[in-house]
Amino acid sequence: MLKLDNISMRFDGLVVLSNVSLHIAAGELVGLIGPNGAGKTTLFNIISGFQRPSAGQVLYRGEPVTAAPPHRLAARGMVRTFQGARVFPKLTVRENLRVANHLRSRQRDAADLAADAMTLLGLDRFADELAASLPAGLVRTLGIAMAIATGATLLLLDEPAAGLSADEVEQLRTVIERTHAKGVTICIIEHNLKFLMGCVERACVLDAGVLIADGPPEAITRDPRVIEAYLGDTFADR
């Protein structure tokens, strides 16, 4: 479904990404991990059309989309969320979801999709509240609900669990699993390895712009290169 072919990104003399090649098949649930500054969000930006790579190609469903603008990719089913909770603060929850619905709103199932997303994430009670008045965890949840409400078939979630409480993380896991069960392909950037490793089937590790490992969670956590990249710190959790 998604293929990255030797993606490189140079910025002001700094090499941010170096020959990253990656393949995500339809229906997979993949994690993208790596220490801070490894280039994960930049990779998402490139995949979703917000940035152009210095070299390489992005192929989505077989078609080259390296130069495609974000809205066209969203129309083709690829939607990403942003680091930090990004929603429309001055609109209500319901209005936020209606915007997310924009692509589908000409179809009959539009309202259902939005309502489903709202219920799925437990936001019903807050339907008419301003997004700005919600507690941080719920704002994050709204952002994910909006991505789901677009009817996307490939979801790129950028650090969805950051700043969430243990309960909220569990809720998030359920949401991801349920959405995945519906057939949506999901790729998640995450720092909370305990959460991520228990969730995904496969993890790709990025370090200083280079893809250093790609495989099932158990193999990744034992990979010496990965441990070295993290300097063992984050694995102290386990």
Partner: protein, 331 residues
């Protein structure tokens, strides 16, 4: 009274207040017919046209959030284009409308497309300002076509339609009201439509909107072109009304005054531009303050509004009302 009863009373009271504002505005519109004073009809027509301009400007600035400073220029283009089409191409007033709108669509599209590719207001504001001034200079210098900087006398008036005679002042006043109704109608319809929701999303956060599938530049461009066409429509009525058009119509200062009207009245609200127009134009006119001092006061009102009441008068009250409503519902 129980809490819930109080809050629902408050709610209906506020809803009624909203209606009252619109009824009041409607009543004002009828005044010139009631009093049959030539001055009132003249003032009324001028005000109604200004109110249409403010309303259509609200579409690009208030709803879409893009700061356009070319509005007065398109008002003038509408007047000049329709006058030229009538005089040189021999079309009647009604026949000239569609070609005039097409011309304006092309112009505004040509200006808007490259200008809107940039995120952010400053570049767009500067480009529309400069293009507006260029258009004015064009009108001032193309003497054969436009009569040059002195302007052009226009002896025509629209042919009768639906039994209404447009060669007299009252007929033109009705025509102006029609333009206002169209402008308000278009903006109201857009606000409740899918297109309008997309514009609001773009105004609030372009990048987020794009990530959700909204074609940002296309939407902004559509709003800009539509806005400019509405301005031109008002201009085409101004021409026979004033009997005289000049490049001064198109000056950047006029565009700025329109922005002032919006800010004072309340950007993004539907009645805001109308109330703003009343405050900006009607009150000073009626108080007969000397021309220059009038503008000084308006400038002062604008500065004060921006500093102390950035949502404008209607916006300010609208926000209070909505906050009250929410508090009332919350019980």
């Amino acid at each position: 009274m129980t809490v819930s009863k109080f809050s629902s009373t408050l709610d209906s009271l506020l809803a009624r207040l909203h209606w009252a504002v619109w009824v009041g505005l409607g009543a004002l519109l009828l005044l010139p017919f009631v009093f049959s004073s030539r001055y009132l009809v003249y003032l009324g027509t001028l005000l109604v046209l200004q109110a249409s301009l403010a309303t259509s400007l609200n579409l690009i600035i208030g709803v879409a959030g893009q700061f356009a400073l070319s509005h007065a220029a398109f008002y003038g283009i509408g007047a000049y284009a329709s006058a030229l089409l009538i005089e040189s191409a021999g079309l009647g007033f009604w026949g000239s409308l569609l070609p005039m709108l097409a011309i304006v669509a092309v112009f505004s599209g040509a200006i808007g497309y490259p200008a809107l590719r940039y995120t952010g207001g400053i570049h767009f504001a500067l480009i529309t300002f400069a293009c507006g001034e260029l258009l004015r200079l064009l009108a001032a210098n193309w003497d054969d076509m436009t009569g040059g900087p002195q302007g052009k006398r226009l002896p025509y008036s629209p042919a009768p339609l639906l039994g209404i005679d447009f060669s007299d002042a009252k007929g033109l006043y009705l025509l102006a009201i029609a333009v206002l109704v169209i402008s308000v109608g278009v903006v109201a319809a857009i606000r409740h439509s899918r297109f309008g929701r997309a514009l609001v999303a773009i105004r609030e956060d372009e990048i987020l909107a794009a990530s959700l599938g909204i074609a940002v530049t296309r939407h902004k461009l559509a709003a800009y072109v539509l806005t400019s066409m509405l301005a031109a429509l008002a201009g085409s009525v101004y021409a026979p009304f004033a009997g005289f058009i000049s490049p001064d119509l198109m000056s950047a200062g006029e565009s700025v005054a329109l922005v002032g009207v919006l800010i004072v009245g309340g950007i993004g609200t539907l009645s805001g531009p109308l109330i703003g127009t009343l405050i900006f134009f009607a009150i000073p006119e009626l108080l007969r303050i000397a021309k220059f001092y009038r503008l000084v006061i308006l400038g002062g009102v604008l500065v004060a509004s921006v500093l102390f009441m950035p949502e404008g008068i209607v916006g300010f009250f609208s926000k209070q009302w909505q906050a009250l409503r929410r508090r009332a519902k919350g019980g």
